[in-house]
Symmetry: C2
Subunit: 277 residues, 2 copies
């Protein structure tokens, strides 16, 4: 077993793999000065990246929608990621790919090349057998279909969220829910699995869960009201750091007596099976 305590961490920054402590960017970076950047995040389990191509597809889409050229080819990106996984040999590794508008001479206009960072970090899953508690929050991300670096509102509300004993937020606006701060939301009502279609980030876990659910349930992708969410039989959330996790409570509404529902359990195991394929 590797000596984790004394293990060096390695990052990638603008063409170079380097010790994490040396991964520093100049203060004129447009991600830092203006929040102009995107990222993606996926896992490597026992040295094997999970759904990497889906995440790189999404990174490319975010980059295109933000007008940010990716300075490495897809093939080279994968080589770098595999090298980083070897250099950071944790059983569970989270890999964050961040790309910003570069070193802007005027502090406002994106400049080429984009700054590209790849930051691997060991991580721990949310336990799959404990439900999460959400706090409703009136909000919609600015450009929901892009995985931007913009998290001011959910971070600013962290103290209030923790005071309420909640693990995450449930965004809603004009009566409809959209997503959580970093994951997608599904509800189950009368054996129908329902998830918001618009105004959300199209999660990779969401995609596979939808595929799997279509084989076992009736599935609807459409607007979902907050009211029907609170009246659902079961609610669950999906994301790369969570896989499928039950929501046991939203504000004061408790689902299924606080226990994980049968259908959510079934979807959890279907997804785990799919991921381990």
């Amino acid at each position: 077993m590797p000596d984790y305590e004394n293990m060096k961490e390695y990052n990638f920054l603008n063409g170079q793999i380097l010790l994490s402590e040396e991964a520093k960017i100049h203060v004129s970076d447009l991600g830092l000065l203006r929040g102009y950047g995107i990222f993606d995040f996926f896992r490597a389990v026992n040295g094997k990246p999970v759904f990497m191509d889906d995440h790189l597809d999404r990174l490319e889409n975010s980059a295109r929608l933000m007008g940010l050229p990716i300075p490495e080819s897809r093939e080279r990106l994968k080589e770098i990621i595999l090298e980083l996984i070897e250099l950071n040999p944790h059983d569970l590794l989270g890999i964050k790919v961040v790309m910003t508008g570069g070193y802007s001479p005027d502090g406002y206009t994106p400049a080429e090349p984009s700054n590209l960072m790849i930051i691997p970090k060991p991580f721990i899953f949310k336990p799959a057998d404990i439900g999460m508690k959400l706090m409703t929050y009136e909000y919609s991300r600015e450009i929901p279909e892009i995985k931007t670096l913009s998290y001011i509102s959910p971070i600013r509300v962290l103290p209030k969220m923790r005071e309420a004993g909640a693990d995450d937020l449930l965004y809603h606006l004009n009566g409809d829910i959209s997503e959580s701060s970093r994951s997608n939301i599904f509800i189950i009502k009368d054996r129908k699995v329902i998830t918001p279609k618009d105004g959300v980030l199209y999660g990779v876990t969401r995609k596979y869960v939808l595929e799997l659910c279509r084989e076992h349930f009736e599935v609807e992708e459409r607007d979902v009201t907050l009211k029907e969410t609170l009246e659902a039989d079961e609610v669950f959330t999906t994301g790369s750091t969570k896989r499928v996790v039950a929501i046991s409570q939203i504000d004061n509404t408790i689902f299924n007596d606080g226990k994980i529902g049968k259908q959510t359990r079934k979807i959890q195991s279907l997804f785990l099976e799919r991921e381990l394929l």
Copy 2:
């Protein structure tokens, strides 16, 4: 005269004044990874900071509203700024103070100390005798009263804005205008000076312009519709990089035959006089 070409630039970063090329922050900074940070910007003219205390007041207010402790006292901040002005002896110096949520171990929760950068750069004023052209844009900043690092939408629309020949955006939502991407907006109708009261950043130039206008015009701070803006006699914008600049055109509406209006000229000279006090 200093040898600008070969002049070194100096920044401040977390307790140290250092050469700009060495001003680098680690990639785990929460401003970079999550856009969690604030800034302020003011000028030094011929070595003398302009309205510095107003800007530091606003920085403190932004910091408080974001829950970010400022790692230096007000007095020490001013000492550092004055030292940076001496080390960067440009006639016109823009001074940007940036503060972020620190090096976050989990990449999400703000950590202490905040990262504090002060970045001086020479700059050039928008010419006061040429009007600017604005493109209307349906948008409102997420937390308008805080000077956050969040500029994704206006930067993303830059290519479209430039294609339209516009110099900046005019934000409007639900029929009301708010501000431009980096400055405040005033309209003049029948010798009344009117500016939006809510949903805007409270600019330091805006504050002094309001004070001065109250001595010479009727002044209203209230909701301002886009319709009345387009029907105004004169429109102008205020900001630390602009002072007072006329708006000669919004979309296809031209004001005052494209020339700077008399009342705007008066306010320009009133402000310049006040600044040079």
